[in-house]
Each structure stands twice: as structure tokens, then as C-alpha cells.
């Protein structure tokens, strides 16, 4: 009995404990809801509540009795910081479009290499005008890049020099470029002269001083930054998994005291010498020994053990902490190296923040949360790393790789503001091929460009048209996809009489070229309604099947040129220049536009984007227009054109009879094309052409199967 009792007590105690546990368990999970807190959730009030806006006040009437809204707008101008509305004269941009005037350079005026690059980039761009009366934007001839008083590049007396400019007008419609401002110890963002209503294109600008939609934040670039072209990004492969040897790296100066020193002084807390390698050195400036602290020697030794380049190329993330100023060179270096920048610069208005969605290419950290950075970057999913990394490369090549791109991007942003509702959308700026190649004047609709089909979920349209140049014989190329024919009559002979034209089922439009020049074949005629353009020479012989097939291919690759005869380029190392070859080779990088499909947007781009100098060269030579088009399209797509199969007679017929054929046989003609190649390459700053080793044929091309099974059987018949 005793035992029984004992067991009983034990048992009941156990039961009680279990009960307690169960009852308390869920209760404690909801602890905050109970106890002393009077409002677990927002209560549901049962009484009728009034609307925040009485029904009879939804529109405020007393506005009507007040002064004209126009006056109110004008009032704004002086009162606040500048905005486009208040400090920019839009009327100057109205009639002539967006033109930029650069003050003529004065003798004896010292101009730095970088600023000279900026000015020459503007002068060689399509925005440049030498007539201040036509200009919408003015750029100074005075070097304002370095406004650090201690710097040797510092220009003195800028204040009076600027006041003396005859068109200054308190800086209205002026654009001032600046890379460095302020000096030790406080590094203010003051330029040392009155900027008035001028816009700033400034590096390291802080959000506090930044006037949104007025100033432009540009990246800090070194004096060695190339003027045009620029190196491509370092990314060659998309390795899977996308992790590199290091997770996070940094190598740079450490400031022991003063502004910007906090973050860099704290980096050693995060450094682990394995996959997070953050190295700082105290060795900079003349008297670093004087200020050095206990960690300096150890840090310096560690600093020298690592090679910066090696780290940059082998790290997934690169830390970009602020320097004395907010921006640092590390930013562009990381971007080019496909090392995802981890920004640690509170209050820095990121470069071109107005148009670039930096979340897609960088990790934006907070200096206050430095210690969390490693865990933050480790938590980023590998899919995201893959996409961040590719985006760094796109942005680098689209907007940052040369001074010219930085300058053009700056100007295009301002132009977008002037265009207002016609401006580029965020997608145009942040998707391939980037804003510089996507001209908003062509269309504000994304679907009118060949680049955004996949974004919109749209299929290419199945209508096409044909441009026949100078004369006609091409009546047998009518295909079921044909929408209309445009004939460019570029010859001095009068147009043939109407009855002599072949009868066609689609409209034929004849345009008599006024200037009779080569470039007119690529003019963006309003009559072109369809996305696809088939450009043909008058002596081209193509069968319907060949055209049909090429069109189906073009629909799959609407952003490329799809054509028949192909040519190739090569680097002639003996002569140190590019060579051109029309020989039958195993690869090609151009297709001739004497017979090729392309998107009509390229007509627009050719006419608007390319500088007058190249187009007039083409017109004078009456040659190379196809090479230029291939350069342009490859520069946009970074891809080779596409050659499709054709009957092999094309080449022979071209060599055969007509006047044009003699041109092809002419050795001068060939030399000209060689020269064109090199001229074009130097304007683009790089060689945009890309080689391809493949040709696209119909699926059953030349297969040993009944010809009746084949859809494109004519291609095989000779």
C-alpha cells in the first residue's frame, strides 16, 4: 500500500507536470499578447467613424479664387534649391533640339587631361554645336574638375573668370563637371565659386547636397580612364556555382583620423584572412609615421602580402567604403572586374542614380552596420549573384567604360529631362543594350525596339517590307510575308513610266532620293511601317524561298542582321591594323546589306546615332555603308550577324554583268573598304565586330530525303 501510495503521488505529480508543461507551453509562446499589455492588436472599433475627408470637400474649391497658378509657379524659382522647373530655361531647347555649346578654349588656360577628354567627347558627339545661339546647354572651357585647393591641378581665380563669361547668366543652362571638391580636413562639397543656377555633374555628391532631377552624380574616374571605347568587362564565363575564391575583399588606404576614417578603421574587425580579406595601409601621405597607431605595422605587412588585381578578379564581392570623399576609385574597378560592389558610403548619391537601378548590380550596405556585412553578403542567393555580376558588366560597358560614355550618359540624362514625357523609361536604361543605344525619339513604346520582346512577352510581328535601291528587277522576290515595297530611285535617269513597272499584289512606293547618296538607303523613312526591313540592291537575285527562310530566322533574332553573303575581318599584325576579307572563309563577322533583313530601328540608329563624319565618308566613297551598319549593329548587340543559306549563284551574278559588279572587281574598292574598317574602328574606340562560325540552314537542308518533304526546297535547286 505504501508503495502504491508513493507511486500514486509520483504518478499524479508527473501528470500535473505534463499538464503544466502543455498548458504553459502555448501560453508562453503568446506571452506578449497577455499579461500587462492592454492592446495586443489594433482593436476593432464598433462605433461609426468619420471619413478623413468630408464628402463635400473632396475637391478644394477655394483654389479657384486664388492667383493664377502660373504666378505661383514663377514664385518658386528663387525660394528653394534649384530644380529643372525653376532653374532651367526649357525654351532654349525648343527649336533646335538638344544642343550643347562648349566655350572656345582660351590661350594660356591650363586644362587637365581628364577635362580635355570631357570636352572633346562633347565636341565629337552629335549634341555639339559651335553656335551659342542654338545651344540649350553650355559647358565651360575652364577646368572645374579638381577643386581641392591643395591640389596642383587647382585653377585659381575661377570665380572672376566665370563671372566674366559673357553667356554665364548666373549659370542658367550651364553644366559644371567636378570630380574633387573641398580639402582637408572637412572636405566640403563647395566648389570655391558661386555656381548659381548651373547644374552639377559631380563625383562623390552627397544626398543632402544633391538637387534631385537637377544635379547628376558621376563616378570618380582616374586620369588614365580611356577617352573612347574602353576596355570590356572582365567577365568571361558564368561559372556555376558562381562563388569565387574570396567572398569579400578590399585593399586601400586607412585614414587614422578625420572624416571618413571611422569605417576604414573598423574594417579589421571583419577581416578574417580567409575568404573575407579587407586590407588597409597607413602608408600614405608624407607624415604617416607621425600619426601611426598600434595596428599600422601589422596591417601594412598584411597589406603587402596580397596582390590587388588577383583579389579583384577572384572575389565575389568587393567592398567599396567611402574615402575622405564619398566616392572612391574602388567603385569602377569593382564594376569592371565583375566583382559585385558592396557600397559602404552613407549618403553617397550613387552614380547616375536617376536612371540606374543599382539594386540590380550592387549591394548597398550601411556604414553603421559594418559588422553585419559578411553575413549579409553570405546570405545572398547564388541566382542573385549570377544576375548581379552580369549586370555589373552590362552597366560598365554601357555607361562607364570610357570618359565619352560617362559624358554622353550625363548629356542624355539631361536630354531626357528636356524631352519630358518622351524620355526613356527605366527599362530602357537598365536593360541591354542600354540607354545610349535606345533613342527615345524613335518611339516611346518598348515594343517598337528589337530588344525588349522577351521583357514584354511579345512575339515579333510577321509582316515585312522590302527596300529596293536604285532601279528594279526584283519583282520575283514577292513572298507571302511582304507588306509593301519601297523603291529608292537613286540614279540620275528619270523614273520609268508607270506601265513599265511590274504588277504587284502589294503597294509599291517610289522615293526619289534627293541627295543620291549611299546613306539614304538607311534613312528611317516614315513609309516603313513594319519592324522587319529587307534591304536589297537592284541586282540582287533571290528566290522567294530564300527570302521566306531568312525572314523566319530574323523573327527569332530580331536584334541582329540576317543576310546572305558574308565577309570577315581580321587583325593584320604586320601592318598593325584591321584587315578586310571577302574570301570564302570558315567564319564571318559581317553580312552584306545588299540583301539582308534587319529591324527598322537600325535605320533610325544609323541616321541619328552615327556622327556626320562617318556618314559623309560613306557618301563620298559610295562604299562601306554595309560595313558601317554591321559595326553599328554589332556594337549594340555585342553579337555577330547571322548568315543564312542561299543558292550559290549570288556571288557569281554579282561579279558578272552590271555596273555595280565592276565596282566589286575594282582593287580600289577593296582598299577603300579596308580603310573604312580602320576609320570606323577608331571612332567606335574598339572593334565591335564578332566572328561566327555557323550558318543557319533549313532543318532538312541537303538531306537525303525526298525533296517533297522539304519546306524550303528551292534553296537546294541550282
Amino acid at each position: 500500500m505504501q508503495a502504491k501510495k508513493r507511486y500514486l503521488i509520483l504518478f499524479s505529480a508527473g501528470v500535473c507536470l505534463i499538464l503544466l508543461f502543455y498548458l504553459q507551453g502555448p501560453a508562453s509562446r503568446r506571452t506578449p499578447n497577455r499579461g500587462d499589455d492592454p492592446h495586443p492588436h489594433w482593436p476593432h472599433f464598433s462605433d461609426p467613424l468619420r471619413a478623413f475627408i468630408p464628402w463635400d470637400q473632396t475637391e478644394t474649391e477655394d483654389y479657384n479664387v486664388r492667383v493664377s497658378p502660373r504666378h505661383k509657379r514663377d514664385d518658386n524659382s528663387g525660394a528653394y534649391k534649384c530644380r529643372m522647373d525653376s532653374c532651367f530655361d526649357f525654351s532654349l531647347c525648343g527649336s533646335n533640339g538638344f544642343k550643347v555649346y562648349v566655350y572656345p578654349q582660351q590661350k594660356g588656360e591650363k586644362i587637365s587631361e581628364s577635362y580635355r577628354n570631357i570636352l572633346s567627347s562633347i565636341e565629337s558627339s552629335r549634341f555639339y554645336t559651335s553656335d551659342p545661339g542654338q545651344a540649350c546647354l553650355f559647358v565651360l572651357n575652364l577646368d572645374t574638375l579638381d577643386r581641392d585647393q591643395l591640389s596642383p591641378q587647382y585653377v585659381h581665380n575661377l570665380k572672376t573668370k566665370i563671372q566674366n563669361l559673357n553667356l554665364w547668366n548666373n549659370g542658367r543652362n550651364h553644366l559644371i563637371f567636378n570630380l574633387y571638391s573641398g580639402t582637408w580636413p572637412d572636405y566640403t562639397e563647395d566648389l570655391g565659386f558661386e555656381i548659381g543656377q548651373a547644374m552639377l555633374a559631380k563625383a562623390s555628391i552627397s544626398t543632402e547636397n544633391f538637387r534631385p532631377d537637377f544635379d547628376i552624380s558621376i563616378p570618380l574616374f582616374s586620369k588614365d580612364h580611356p577617352r573612347t571605347g574602353g576596355d570590356r568587362g572582365y567577365l568571361k564565363y558564368n561559372t556555376i556555382p558562381p562563388f569565387r575564391k574570396y567572398v569579400l575583399v578590399f585593399k586601400g588606404k586607412r585614414y587614422l583620423t578625420g572624416i571618413g576614417s571611422d569605417t576604414r578603421n573598423a574594417l579589421h574587425h571583419v577581416h578574417n584572412a580567409e575568404d573575407v580579406v579587407l586590407l588597409t595601409t597607413c602608408k600614405h601621405g608624407k607624415d604617416w609615421q607621425k600619426h601611426k597607431d598600434a595596428r599600422c605595422d601589422k596591417d601594412n605587412a598584411e597589406y603587402d602580402r596580397y596582390d590587388y588585381k588577383e583579389m579583384l578578379h577572384n572575389s565575389t564581392f568587393c567592398l567599396v567604403p567611402r574615402g575622405r570623399r564619398l566616392g572612391s576609385f574602388r567603385f569602377l574597378e569593382a564594376l569592371q572586374a565583375a566583382c559585385v560592389p558592396v557600397m559602404l558610403s552613407n549618403g553617397w548619391e550613387l552614380p547616375f542614380s536617376e536612371i540606374i537601378d543599382w539594386h540590380t548590380a550592387a549591394v548597398i550596405g550601411d556604414e553603421r552596420l559594418l559588422l553585419q556585412i559578411p553575413s549579409t553578403v553570405r546570405s545572398i542567393h547564388q541566382d542573385r549573384i549570377l544576375s548581379l555580376r552580369q549586370q555589373t558588366q552590362f552597366l560598365w560597358e554601357a555607361y562607364f567604360s570610357s570618359v565619352e560614355k560617362i559624358v554622353l550618359t550625363t548629356l542624355e540624362i539631361i536630354q531626357d529631362r528636356v524631352l519630358q514625357h518622351n524620355a526613356r523609361s527605366t527599362l530602357m536604361w537598365n536593360r541591354l543594350p542600354g540607354g545610349l543605344f535606345t533613342l527615345p525619339q524613335f518611339s516611346s513604346y518598348l515594343g517598337d525596339f528589337p530588344f525588349f520582346y522577351s521583357v514584354l512577352g511579345k512575339q515579333a510581328i510577321s509582316v515585312e517590307m522590302i527596300v529596293v535601291r536604285a532601279g528594279f528587277t526584283a519583282s520575283d522576290v514577292l513572298t507571302m510575308f511582304l507588306y509593301q515595297i519601297i523603291v529608292l530611285w537613286n540614279c540620275d535617269k528619270p523614273l520609268p513610266a508607270k506601265h513599265r513597272w511590274p504588277a504587284t499584289s502589294v503597294p509599291v512606293i517610289v522615293i526619289e532620293g534627293e541627295s543620291k547618296v549611299m546613306s539614304s538607303r538607311f534613312l528611317p523613312y516614315d513609309n516603313i511601317r513594319t519592324d522587319a526591313v529587307l534591304s536589297l540592291d537592284e541586282d540582287t537575285v533571290l528566290s522567294t524561298t530564300e527570302v521566306d527562310f531568312a525572314f523566319t530566322v530574323w523573327q527569332i533574332f530580331p536584334e541582329r542582321i540576317v543576310g546572305y553573303p558574308a565577309r570577315s575581318h581580321f587583325w593584320d599584325s604586320n601592318k598593325e591594323r584591321w584587315g578586310y576579307t571577302s574570301k570564302w572563309t570558315n567564319d564571318y563577322s559581317m553580312v552584306l546589306t545588299g540583301a539582308a533583313f534587319y529591324h527598322r530601328y537600325y535605320n533610325y540608329l544609323y541616321t541619328q546615332y552615327l556622327p556626320g563624319s562617318l556618314k559623309s565618308m560613306v557618301d563620298q566613297l559610295s562604299n562601306c555603308e554595309d560595313i558601317l551598319m554591321n559595326f553599328l549593329v554589332s556594337a549594340v548587340t555585342k553579337m555577330p550577324p547571322i548568315k543564312v543559306t542561299q543558292k550559290k549563284q549570288y556571288k557569281e551574278t554579282m561579279m558578272g554583268q552590271t555596273s555595280r559588279a565592276s565596282r566589286w572587281a575594282d582593287p580600289d574598292h577593296f582598299a577603300q573598304r579596308q580603310m573604312c574598317m580602320n576609320k570606323f574602328a577608331s571612332w567606335f574606340g574598339t572593334m565591335p565586330l564578332v566572328h561566327s562560325q555557323m550558318r543557319l540552314d533549313p532543318v532538312l537542308f541537303k538531306d537525303q530525303v525526298s525533296i517533297l518533304r522539304k519546306k524550303y526546297r528551292d534553296i537546294e535547286r541550282l
Binding site: L20, D587, R695
Partner: protein
Amino acid sequence: MCMCRCSSVLFVSSAVGLALERLIMCASVKYGSRGPALIPRMKTKHRIYYITLFSVVLLGLIATGMFQFWPHSIESSAEWSLDRRSVHDAPLVRIPMSSPIPERGDLSCRMHTCFDVYRCGYNPKNKIKVFIYPLQRFVDEVGVPISSTGLSREYNDLLSAISDSDFYTDDVTRACLFIPSIDVLNQNSLRIRETAQALAMLPRWDKGMNHLLFNMLPGGPPDYNTALDVPRDRALLAGGGFSTWTYRQGYDVSIPVYSPLSAEVDLPERQPGPRRYFILSSQTAIHREYRVELERLKEENGEALLLLDKCSNLSQDLASVRKRCYKGQVYDYPQILQESSFCVVLRGARLGQATLSDVLQAGCVPVIMADSYILPFSEVLDWKRASVVIPEEKLPEMYTILKSIPHRQVEEMQRQARWFWEAYFSSMKAIGMTTLQIINDRIYPYAARTYEEWNNPSVVKWSSVNSPLFLPLIPPRSPGFTAVVLTYDRIESLFRVITEISKVPSLAKLLVVWNNQNKSPPEESLWPKVTVPLKVVRTKENKLSNRFFPFDEIETEAVLAIDDDIIMLTSDELQFGYEVWREFPDRLVGYPGRLHLWDHEMGKWKYESEWTNEVSMVLTGAAFYHKYFNYLYTYKMPGDIKNWVDAHMNCEDIAMNFLVANITGKAPIKVTPRKKFKCPECTAIDGLSLDQTHMVERSECINKFASVFGTMPLKVVEHRADPVLYKDDFPEKLKSFPNIGSL
């Protein structure tokens, strides 16, 4: 605190026990006479004791179950009693005259200067915690309330939506963001000074740090400032009607002015397209100068414009809000908005207009004319896709400007406008959640929602593709490719395949996936001697999916998947395939092509391996592809496709084709004329019937996968890739890839 709870619970349980005990005593009295049936050999006293104990245990278990499985029902019933609360029950707080007034908002405030990020901390969910102050009624010293409306319906909706959301916390110490329950939505109903004092009295105010105020109607006559005039220290402001001068970019949030009509009127979505009117103006309080200009436009363009105003002949009551008139003709508002392509949203006294919300709801493209206005949620929304912003000065040119917009773009804008309303404007909840999400994105920028997530309506999200390998990149030839050979036990054929592939110049590594668990791979010495590294991986299970596993041993981007019996491919063909893959690294590049067809009679998809003119798939018996797709196949394959493939031991190649086409939106590339992997004579032995069951099974796969993907992602093309000089009349010696052509 803990002790206290324990004792109270104990008390409860013992009380229940007692009650039960009595109940069971009664029962046992009844059964007592019948004798000890259940528990023999025990005294009645003990029996009762035991029964009591068991009942207590049982009760405990039931109670546990209740707590475990219906915790919400218990909670909500507890809250139900709170439900009948009245606003008037809220505690009254008297503001002393001398109570401190916060400073005016600091225009230089930014997240890194005025916001305490440490309060938000690092958390794995990347979600901020929001605390809402309990409701209090603030009155001044003489008892006059600080606001004429008190808590408004809208603010109450907003707060309860936040309180029901994931953001909410009732633990003030864990909160990152604080929302006062003082309603400042409409500045007109506020006593500015007293409201400011009330804010400063909040227990966690701390100079307004991390506090968020919602205001939709800022300013008051005559100036109508564009931001709330209530001094608020460093508090964040979610304001409707900011101008570029008062908006602190990256700190404040620009929100819409909520339209009460949203809740009252249900406008069904209309198909985008041309509408009866081109431009419609429905606002009633348009400045007379602008009305004159609008009327001039109307004269010039006639019927295309509809210019509505208040109805002067109707009585001014609640119903008149829903009516608009033109020359005596009455129109229903907001229904009439659906009849126009574009709807004018002009500035009024304030920049933010509730009309904008009505217009968006109607799927009408807003034409916003309010200079310097910061559009709602402009930090994340791309308004260019849903609206046209025209400077007020250009009002006379409005018609020409709008006419220049392509039709297709207008349709897309109509769709986008409606989607913006549905997602971000339709209720106070939507507005509140969007605001919090924007702030959340600033605090955890690396986990922020993307442009596409914010801006793409679900239709577009569904049909558009974002290729994970979007950068146009032709990788260099030098790293070569890794051949992955899946094998079971056909060693002889495997060795032949290895010998053949090893002749391909760009082969970097051979990886044999040994799928036979019962047999070990042959000894190292027996393997053919090859110049590249050869690795054998043994798998745990004989699964087809193993061939697509992203093995660490694959160090190149390019993978050549190849079966252990494919010996017909020449070295030229393989090398050429690799070269083509380099030009299209985001596609499958394979040899024999296959096609899917819609079978109209059966009403389903059909698999086609005949000699067709089209291709939509390539067989992965030998195909080049990016290693990323291995990762995708193994970890991201939708639905149960992977298991289906392993169970049926078939269709892994179809699954791969679906996967790649679905994510890239692109067709595979068939290279070279090759149509079959095996010689025709060899397959003849298999016989026709086998072939037919095979076809049926493959067709079944296509239908199954299409239903899992919810769409048919495969794309059909009519081309294949051949070497540039293929079949050209040209000396074979000079061709890079002469040995191509056998079928």
C-alpha cells in the same frame, strides 16, 4: 512574472480537477452497486482516485489539443470581447499648455542621419517590426480635442491592416518603426500646435526617430504647403502631394490620396483598347485659367474631348459626388472614366488629387499636370509605363502630345494603370503595406523587391522571360567542355564513346556517371588511355536525373551530356557543336531534333520524331548546355517532373528542353544534319511496335509537363546550324569542319 503565471495555471488545473472529481463521484455512485467491473481487486476509494486521475490526464490532453490546434479560435474569441470597444473608451490625455513642441521637419534628414537602423537589427526574414501606439484621446488644457474628426475611418483601416500584417509587433522594445495612433491624414481637421505637442508626448518619441506619420491632405489655405505643417522632428512622413522641394528623397514616402469611392464603387476591369472619348476631364475644382484652356482644346477637337464639371442643377448632397455634368447632360462618376483613353489629372490647391485613384481604377491613362509633384510611390513605381506627365505650361499642346503616343503603348498603359490601382491604390491597406514595404526595402536593400516585382502586372510576369544568362557573352574557347557520360553497364560501348570523344580538341574533362549500384566500375587500368582527366562518379540510386546533377567535378561552363552508346558523332561534329554553343551559351545545342505538335483530333500535344521541317527540342543523348541548367534541373524543376522522369525512366531530355525554353524563352539549336544517334539498320531490329509505345510515352510526357508548367514553353524554329562552308563547292581540306554530313 513567470512564477506568478505558474501558480495561476496550477490553480486552474486543480480547480478543473476538483470539478471533475465531483462529476465522476456521481458517476461512480451509480456504477458502484454493480461492483468492480473495470478495475477489480481495488477499493472503491482508490478506484475513484484512479478514475479522477485518468480524467485529469484526459482533460489535460484535450486541453493540450485545443491549445495546439485551435490557438486562433481561442485567441479571437478572447479578442471578440475587445471587439466591442468604442473610440470613446480610449484614455483621455490632457496636454499641458507648456508641453514641448517638436522642431519643424528637418529637410536634410536621410535614412543614414535621422533613422536609427540599430533598432531594426539583422533578422533572417529581412522584415521590419512595426509598433502601433494604443489609441488615446488628446485634449488641451480646457478639454478641446486636438482634431475635429478624431480617428478617421481610413486611418482606422490603415492601422488595423498594419496590425494584421507580418510587420506588426506589439512588443515596443523590438519595434523598428513606430506609428502613432494620432490621425493626421487631413491637416484641415487638426490643431497644428496641439497635435505637435501630442506627438512629442508619445513615450518613445525620442525626437521623432523611427516614427512614421501618414498624411494625405497637407497644407491649408491660403498657401497649401506641400508637406504636413505639423512640426514633427525627425519623423518620416508618408505624404500625399509632396513637391520636389519638400520631399526628402529616400526618406519620405510619397503616397496617393485615397479616394473613398474606391470602396463604394466596383468598376470591373475593361479590356485595353480605344474608348469613346480620347480625353476626359472630370475634376470639378479646376482653376478657371485652366478650364478656359481646356475649353479651348474642346473647341478645337470636338467630340474627342469630354469636359465635365459639377452639376449645378442637382441638389448638393452626398449623391452629387457621384455625378458630373456637361451642358445639362448628367454622367455617372466614376463610371464615365471608363469611356475615355486618357483622363486629365490637374493640380488643384494641392498637388495630390484623389481623382488620380479613380482614374487608375477605371483603367484610364492619367494625364498628370502638376508641376514639381512627386508621384505616389515614385521611388519604386515606373510611372512612365502608366501615365503621361505634361508640364502645366504645355496644357494647350496636350492633344497633340497624346496623339503622338503609339496605340499599342496606350493599351499597355491602360493595363498598367489598372494594375497600379489594384496593387497599390485600391484600399488603405494597399497604401499602408506599400509604404511599409518601401521602407523595408531601404532597411534591407539587399533583399529589396525588384523593379519587375513592383511594376510588372501578373500577365506580363507570366509571359515575359528573364533569362538568367542575359549578358551577351561569347565565352572563350580555351576552357573547353566537360563530357558527362551516363552509363549503367555497357562497358564496351562506353569505352568506345570515351575513345571517340577524347579526340575532340576542346574536351577538357570526362566525367563518367556510374549509375549501376550493383556493380563496381572497371579497374583503372582497364579504362582507355585519354589525355584529359577522367573521373568516375558513383551514384546512390539508378536515376535518370543523375545525368543532370551539377557535380562539383564539372568545372567548365559547357557540359556535353552524352549517352554511353553514341559512337556515331564525329569529332568535327562535336567540336562544331561546342563552337555553336559558345555563340548561344543560354541554349541547348544538340544533334537530332524533335518536334511537338498540337493534335487537333485528340486535343492534346503529340511528340514527333519524323523528318520534319521544324525543331522545338533536341535530344540530350548528345547535347551541349550551360552548367547552370544542371543546377536548375536538379533544384528548381517545377512540380513533380523530376520524380516522374525517374519513375518512368524516360523523358529526361524533354524535361530539360521544357526547363530551358521556359526560363529563357528561346528555342534550342539543332546542329548538323544528324537525325539519329544510331545507324538505321540497328534500330530496325527494335521493331515498329516498340517504337510506337515509345512515341506514346513521349507524347504523354509532353502533355504532363505542359500541364505542370501551366503553359507550352517550347518554341519552334525552322533552322539548324551548319558550318559556314557546309556543302559548299570548296576544297574540303580548307574547311574547318569537313567531317560533317552523315545522317
